[in-house]
Symmetry: C2
DNA sequence: TCCATATTTCAACAACTATTGAAATTCACC
DNA sequence: GGTGAATTTCAATAGTTGTTGAAATATGGA
């Protein structure tokens, strides 16, 4: 995951309603939930919900499929996994206990062995 | 980490310059870097930099100390660790390969065993 | 075809966030 | 005390994002 799409994923989750939506979807697994059900559980109006779901979808964090009149949204685990991978790789200490505390992270790398990527805006 | 402070941390990182700043600080470890050096490396003006550093600090992702005229900023690993913990716990599948892919996550919990927390705004 | 349900789209507006240049603050050194 | 360097603060503005209500689209069933 590139710097920029990480920003997309982070900002998709950096909203109260969207984080709540995502958290509702996670335990539902690939089956997901119809938009209406999400809205009902969280008390979010249909149009606002649609707005937020689009944003999550754009960030690759949820997928959609149609089932009759309903749109079924599901957490896109691979998108989340890419985000976690990016954060672990770029934003966490590499030695011993990194950010996933109870998970020894494999290759311990010494701090300071890596040039930070300069900020580059694509557009 | 609560839902809301997770949103704070996520939105602090959900910006191109701030993510770049954080990534510059991570490999420097607890020694950190003076603000000016960060600005020089990333080509960010002093006042803008100060704005972003304040935001990161507010989110608990960097710490500051003074050294003479310089302000030394360092990545706050514990803040990042809390964020990673929150995401692993709330936004990832719990079974077998969760989001930290190569890290078997200890207690595998079955999907669907957890009521999602309803969205609650404190203010 | 007509109706009801589910969801999205649109446009207007409100709210928030970022950027800029100028001024202020803090500290070290003379 | 005065000067210069590092950093922050401020105010104005621009830009982006979220919210709301109304209208449109898509689907299934009578």
């Amino acid at each position: 995951m590139e710097h920029l799409s990480a920003v997309d994923a982070l900002s998709a989750l950096a909203h109260d309603s969207r984080l709540a939506i995502f958290r509702v979807l996670v335990p539902e697994g690939p089956d997901g939930l119809p938009a209406g059900e999400i809205g009902k559980r969280l008390g979010i109006a249909a149009n606002a919900l649609s707005f937020h779901l689009t944003r999550l979808r754009y960030a690759g964090l949820v997928s959609v499929r149609r089932n009759g009149q309903q749109m079924i949204y599901a957490a896109a685990y691979d998108g989340m996994q890419r985000l976690m991978g990016f954060l672990t790789e770029n934003c966490c200490q590499k030695d011993a206990r990194g950010c996933s505390s109870d998970c020894p992270q494999g290759q311990p790398t010494s701090v300071k062995d890596k040039e930070p990527t300069p900020i580059a805006r694509s557009a």
